[in-house]
């Protein structure tokens, strides 16, 4: 009983988020479905597959792809997954082209011609691309339809868009992930609480491997960063792996709390011997990019690139575009939740205590 007051109510009104999307499926005014082209740099890698998966699942959840589109039971292969999407598209609000456009595999000129023709004939309404090169390719092609780049390391630095706030072209949208390596470094630091860390990197990969971001993060966190810097040309040499291992063996790592291997230094070929060396010395081997390296023996790869989430987010942006909004006006900023893979055998050898909260947030465990 509360006096003459109206019934005591709790009112909940959701405020608009920065990424509000119109997620109701729509078709063309004529009632026909929209046609989507998907472009990637061949041969496709795991990230392309994950992006495509996120895109398709997002579209299905919104209702653009009907129930008949069976996305389950895929073999985690890009082409197999694409084939599932296009297998039965009848009744869908969007229809994917029968084949994806794979630049650098098919003749790029041929692809350009094909796309122009399709656009002229009204057989293509929008293109979704993964990768920096497809983004640049489409920008240069300057087709009169919108295109969305949902996976590029730095679309601003690459020149696909002007900035995250203003893409510079109404028809172009590209997903921007801000400071992913800096956040990765901070993530590693909070997990391993290192004060001294070794870092191997390739000098020329400052931007794409995030070397600069690591340095900034170390400075901010007051972490001593001991760098081993290699030239890009040296990293392609046949004896690089041997030389790199020798350098590591000769490095005094007594004070190191962890070692970070930036993109281009540790790979599937040398991971076994390097991770063995690190775990023998009780130093956690952390990876800049690449789940497979952790599978091969590196202790952990904490990635701030949520590829599936990128595809999912692009699906929402695509929905807005299909509802008549300009691609260039759509929000480009996206921040991934961390994706963690770890190698339990290495963790044990290194003496790293795997706490329950970490194990809960780890996406995949290798042995």
């Amino acid at each position: 009983m509360s006096g003459c007051a109206q019934k005591d109510l709790i009112e909940v009104k959701l405020i608009r988020q920065e990424h509000d999307f119109d997620i109701t499926p729509c078709k063309k005014p004529s009632g026909e479905p929209y046609r989507i082209g998907f472009m990637d740099l061949g041969p496709p890698i795991e990230s392309s597959y994950l992006c495509l998966k996120g895109l398709a699942e997002g579209l299905k959840e919104m209702g653009y792809l009907g129930e008949q589109t069976d996305l389950s039971g895929s073999s985690e292969d890009f082409f197999d997954y694409y084939e599932r999407i296009v297998r039965n598209q009848e009744g869908n609000a969007v229809i994917f082209d029968d084949e994806p456009y794979m630049i650098d595999v098919e003749g790029n000129d041929e692809i350009a011609e094909k796309l122009k023709k399709k656009v002229e004939n009204g057989e293509l309404d929008v293109i979704v691309a993964t990768g920096t090169d497809p983004g640049l390719f489409l920008k240069e092609l300057d087709l009169p339809i919108p295109f969305l780049v949902c996976l590029a390391t730095d679309p601003v630095a690459a020149g696909i868009i002007d900035s995250a706030e203003d893409t510079g072209d109404d028809d172009i949208w590209a997903l921007v992930e801000k400071n992913p390596y800096k956040r990765q470094f901070e993530g590693y630091q909070s997990m391993f609480e290192f004060k001294n860390i070794g870092m191997a990197c390739i000098d020329e990969f400052d931007v794409i491997a995030g070397n600069t971001e690591y340095r900034d993060a170390a400075k901010k966190l007051d972490v001593n960063l001991h760098e081993m810097i290699y030239r890009e040309e040296d990293s392609y040499k046949d004896d690089f792996d041997e030389k790199f291992l020798l350098d590591l063996e000769n490095t005094n790592m007594q004070d190191f709390d962890a070692f970070l291997f930036c993109y281009g230094t540790m790979d599937d070929d040398n991971v076994h011997s390097i991770s063995q060396l690190m775990s023998d010395r009780g130093i956690p081997s952390l990876v800049g990019d690449g789940d497979s390296i952790s599978k091969g023996g590196a202790l952990m790869c904490l990635s701030c690139f949520d590829y599936e989430g990128y595809g999912n987010y692009a699906a929402m942006v695509l929905s807005n575009v299909l509802h008549g909004k300009k691609a260039g006006d759509q929000p480009c900023l996206y921040q991934s939740s961390p994706h963690i893979v770890m190698n339990m055998a290495t963790a044990k050898k290194t003496g790293f205590n795997t706490r329950i909260r970490l194990l809960r947030s780890v996406d995949h465990i290798y042995r």
Binding site: M1, S2, G3, C4, A5, Q6, K7, D8, L9, I10, E11, V12, K13, L14, I15, Q17, E18, H19, K178, N179, R183, E186, G187, S190, C304, G309, N312, Y313, M316, P331, L333, Y334, Q335, S336, S337, P338, M344, K348, N353, T354, R355, I356, R357, L359, R360, S361, V362, H364, I365, Y366, R367
Partner: protein, 737 residues
């Protein structure tokens, strides 16, 4: 039958009220228990989603741009009971995402409980809140059958008790026996209710433990499914212990071999994969269930004691009614003055009961509205609604000597009661914080008026010093009883019908008070007495007040007696609750501390006071003893063992300090030569009340320090003993003289 009801109508009403109270209390207790269990379960389960959000925020996500947050929340809601809604709000408390599809919706507060958990970043900065609303409807549905049984059972017990009482009445049983029968009926009802609700306590504990264990089990299994073996979870034991501690219903939670023998009340949940040989085992805490059942039983006893107090206080009514109908009413006689003391006691009992019934609920209501006023935040406005009442009371008392002269006792009683009735009606009907604050101000003014009426009756309602002393004792006892019952009943009414209902109860209560005062006070006699004692003092009040309080004798009385006495009255209000809280003792300890403090002050105090009067013959010697008792009541709180017993003992001692010390200190004060020469009786009582209010405003701050720091505690105790020693000198001087 009519004769029976006429004779015992007050007692019958009280026992009916007590029976209904027990019924309501038992239901509220079990409802609260269910809610507590549900909330513990929600808190446990939500830690995963909070962790996920916190981790994402650490990695640079922001709540304002948290894509996919609704899915995260929906996933978390799957763990909870049906009907639960999770809302994520930013640090400005604006909802960002929810598990419902709508962007705007309303929930009836009476249908949902709320669990609010903070989301903090790695630097411990507040980022937002996770709010979980769980449905009461489901809980109430589960308790429906038990509630029905408890109502029917209680009605049967009450009916049987009434029949027994009636038979006893017909057979000429004494009043005390009839009362005993009534109390026995209520006790039997209490036992029935305890037995009736016990299975529900077990059921709720089981459900909560099951839910939490299932959640822990699924968390571990999710990890095992990733390919981890159980030994690789480094801090698993720590985690299980943490989860066990989060849920009071769980006695143990651990990994055990499947072959190992099952413990009592132990349940097992399978673990995934290679670990089939081991299981997650948990057991329900019997101790927790017993504790809660015991708490309920203790609350029943407390309620029964309150009912006995009301019955005992109301016993005088039939005597008063008889006297009111006699020809002696309104004529100066010993019996009339005795009845004035009774009327003071019962009138005080009524007014203070109703004052305290609603006192703290304006703040809680404002907080529930979450509505500020005049630029103040809801929390500030809530605090103001309490303090404005005290300020108005204090200010009102300053003006009362002037107003009292114009309105006299009867008119002032009507006016003050009407102000109280209107102000409390206003508090009940309003939905505005500002109006609530204004109404509480008027309620404070009304309280000052009622106190002034009390002072007038005390000062005009005696023919000799002994009667005045009796009036003062009656006044104090009425206040103690009222305090005790007001807080108890207020809690029950607020719990059942909502905070605002306490105001309508108070308004109706003041109507009863007004009728009582109108009917039982011999206003003509009081007025005549007042005219005879007409203030012959020449100067106006302020000038006389200045002269009076600059007297060294009075200052000594103030500093050695009045200030320590009022300071000690706050021990039960501030120090003991703080102590109970810091020692994390159950809430029922506070209930009993208050109850026994009141009983000791009200009944034991009065009795011991009479014994001491015969023994010492000197009020100052008694007051010395009171101060030493007060010091002991404070200092024993630092004893590091038998804490519950120590707190109860301290509460009883504090009650005795109140019951004995208050009339003694007032007697000493009223007998002070500066007071006699400078102020009339009413003015003296006003000054006494103002001094008391001032001490009671400052005391909480000192007692807060005492609670936190033993030095302050012992320091205050020593101050009281020093006051007693200085009084000893005074006492000796008096003897020499």
């Amino acid at each position: 039958m009519r004769g029976f009801f006429r004779k015992y109508y007050v007692l019958q009403f009280v026992s009916l009220f007590a029976a209904a109270g027990l019924c309501v209390l038992s239901y509220l207790t079990i409802l609260d228990y269910f809610k507590k269990n549900e909330e513990q379960f929600i808190t446990s389960c939500n830690d995963e989603v909070i962790e996920e959000i916190t981790t994402s925020l650490e990695y640079g996500k922001t709540l304002s741009n948290y894509y996919g947050i609704s899915d995260v929340l929906k996933r978390a809601a799957l763990l909870l009971n049906e009907g639960s809604i999770i809302i994520l709000a930013n640090k400005d408390d604006e909802a960002i995402a929810s598990t419902t599809e709508e962007t705007y919706f309303q929930l009836e507060r009476s249908d949902y409980g709320e669990v609010i958990q903070e989301i903090r970043n790695s630097e411990d900065g507040l980022e937002g809140y996770l709010k979980t609303f769980y449905s009461y409807i489901q809980i109430k549905e589960e308790l429906k059958d038990s509630l029905k049984k408890s109502i029917i059972g209680s009605m049967i017990v009450f009916l049987i008790m009434t029949i027994f009482c009636f038979v006893g009445y017909k057979r000429g049983a004494s009043d005390n026996r009839i009362i005993l029968l009534m109390i026995l009926g209520v006790i039997i009802q209490g036992i029935f209710l305890t037995v009736n609700y016990r299975p529900e306590f077990v059921k709720a504990a089981q459900k909560s433990a099951e839910g939490t264990a299932a959640y822990v089990n699924s968390t571990i299994n999710d990890i095992l499914k990733k390919g981890v073996v159980i030994e690789e979870i480094y801090d698993l034991d720590e985690y299980l212990e943490e989860k066990r501690q989060e849920n009071d219903s769980i006695a143990s939670l651990y990994i055990k071999d499947l072959d190992a023998e099952n413990g009592q009340n132990e349940y097992i949940l399978p673990l995934y994969g290679d670990n089939e040989k081991r299981t997650l085992a948990y057991s329900i805490s019997d101790g927790y269930i017993h504790r809660n059942v015991l708490d309920m039983a203790l609350t029943f006893i407390a309620t029964i004691v309150l009912a006995i107090i009301v019955m005992k206080e109301s016993m005088v009514l039939s005597e008063m009614i008889t006297f009111r109908r006699s020809r002696l009413f309104g004529l100066p006689s010993d019996e009339q003055y005795k009845q004035i003391a009774n009327a003071i006691r019962y009138g005080n009992f009524l007014s203070v009961t109703f004052d305290y019934m609603c006192l703290s609920f304006s703040a809680l209501q404002i907080k529930e509205w979450n509505q500020g006023a005049l630029g103040m935040s809801p929390i500030t406005a809530a605090a103001l609604s309490i303090s404005i009442c005290s300020i108005a009371d204090l200010l009102g008392m300053f003006f009362m000597p002037y107003i009292g002269k114009r309105l006299k006792g009867k008119k002032l009683a009507v006016t003050s009661s009407m102000v109280m009735i209107i102000a409390n009606f206003g508090c009940f009907f309003t939905t505005s914080t500002l109006i609530m604050i204004i109404m509480r101000f008027f309620a404070g003014v009304g309280t000052a008026g009622v106190k002034q009426v009390r002072n007038i009756v005390i000062s005009d309602g005696y023919s000799c010093e002994k009667e005045r002393s009796a009036n003062l004792t009656a006044n104090n006892n009425g206040v103690i009883g009222g305090l005790l019952c007001g807080m108890g009943f207020g809690g029950v009414i607020a719990g059942v019908f909502g905070y605002q209902t306490t105001f309508i109860a108070t308004a109706i209560g003041y109507l009863l008070y007004l009728i009582f005062e109108f009917f039982f006070m011999p206003w003509k006699l009081l007025s005549k007495s007042s005219n005879e004692k007409e203030n012959t003092l020449a100067d106006n009040f302020i000038i006389r007040l200045k002269k009076t309080i600059s007297s060294m004798k009075l200052l000594k009385t103030i500093f050695l007696i009045i200030i320590p006495q009022y300071f000690l009255l706050m021990v039960i209000v501030c120090l003991i609750p703080g102590r109970i809280q810091s020692l994390r003792l159950p809430g029922v300890v506070l209930t009993y501390a208050n109850l026994l403090n009141g009983v000791a002050g009200l009944y034991l105090g009065e009795h011991i006071y009479k014994i001491l009067q015969n023994k010492f013959k000197s009020d100052i010697a008694i007051q010395m003893l009171v101060l030493v008792t007060g010091a002991v009541s404070m200092m024993i709180l630092n004893v590091p063992f038998f804490m519950t017993a120590i707190i109860i003992l301290s509460s009883i001692l504090a009650g005795l300090v109140d019951g004995i010390g208050t009339p003694v200190s007032m007697d000493i004060y009223m007998g002070n030569i500066s007071i006699i020469e400078g102020l009339d009786d009413t003015e003296s009582l006003v000054l006494y009340s103002v001094l008391g209010s001032a001490v009671m405003s400052a005391a909480p701050f000192i007692l807060e320090l005492c609670e936190k720091n033993a030095v302050w505690m012992y320091g205050s105790g020593i101050y009281l003993i020093v006051c007693a020693i200085l009084l000893m000198k005074k006492s000796r001087r008096k003897k020499v003289q």
